[in-house]
């Protein structure tokens, strides 16, 4: 069972992941003999209060992805009502999972404004729903097992 152990810091549990184009988009690039954009190393805060993973706007630009969907989103900043926003599909790899990296081939996400903190996105329940999440207050770690 691939597992990643994340130390709990003052910001919370921040996990390093590789974010790239989805496997389907990568397959398209390969079939067309086009270079597949290199994945980006990003830090995501594990957030059980987010039902969808999000990434800071602008960071995905090197991947050259464009929206392929649209969702309704409600946050404390959306003025009491949900807003319609663009949805992208990416692939995420938990490169530090042991005994082997754990890939999420295709994941719909949305972009948001810059976070206050060292992390660049929120790891939401869309991924956590595929895992066992353990909060170890004594060891000050969060463990995600896939």
């Amino acid at each position: 069972m691939p597992t990643v152990v994340i130390p709990i810091t003052a910001e919370g549990a921040v996990v390093e992941v590789l974010v790239g184009v989805s496997q389907l988009r990568a397959n398209f690039f390969k079939a067309a003999n086009l270079p597949v954009p290199s994945p980006l190393q990003l830090r995501l805060l594990v957030d059980t209060g987010a039902d969808m993973t999000s990434i800071q706007a602008g960071l995905l630009a090197p991947l050259g992805i464009v929206p392929t969907g649209s969702i309704q989103l409600h946050t404390p900043s959306t003025g009491g009502n949900p807003v319609q926003c663009d949805q992208y599909e990416v692939g995420i790899v938990f490169a530090r999972a042991l005994p082997n990296p754990w890939p999420v081939d295709i994941l719909p996400i949305f972009e948001c404004q810059k976070f206050i903190g060292t992390y660049q996105g929120l790891l939401g329940r869309d991924i956590l729903d595929q895992s066992v999440l353990t909060y170890n207050s004594f060891g000050q770690t969060v463990t995600i097992s896939f």
């Binding site: 389907l24 398209f28 649209s70 663009d86 081939d105 949305f110």
Partner: protein, 97 residues
């Protein structure tokens, strides 16, 4: 006056910039009554028309790349009432064109 106050003053709709897939969304809304026969599935829209309907998000995205390559397309779950996603952090979503 901070950035948000300025934005509210010069552009009250700043929270709702044009969506990238605005045209495809309009097609979805136009065809929604008919599409609801397949509620719960995923519709693929591109080239100004409904292209196909798929059981899974993955299948619909794959069909999108197969059919449209890098041209714009939209994949959307067919729902009578669109699901709202929640985030308890006060993050501000962006909708770049």
């Amino acid at each position: 006056m901070n950035r948000r106050d300025i934005l509210e003053e010069v552009s009250p709709d700043w929270r709702h910039p044009m969506l990238a897939r605005e045209k495809e969304l309009a097609i979805y809304e136009r065809e929604k009554d008919r599409l609801l026969e397949n509620a719960g599935k995923f519709v693929l829209i591109g080239d100004d028309r409904v292209e196909s309907i798929w059981d899974t998000y993955r299948d619909a995205i794959k069909a999108g790349y197969d059919k449209f390559a890098l041209r714009p397309f939209l994949v959307k779950r067919i729902e009578a009432v669109e699901r709202v996603h929640y985030c308890t952090r006060p993050i501000e979503p962006t909708c770049p064109q």
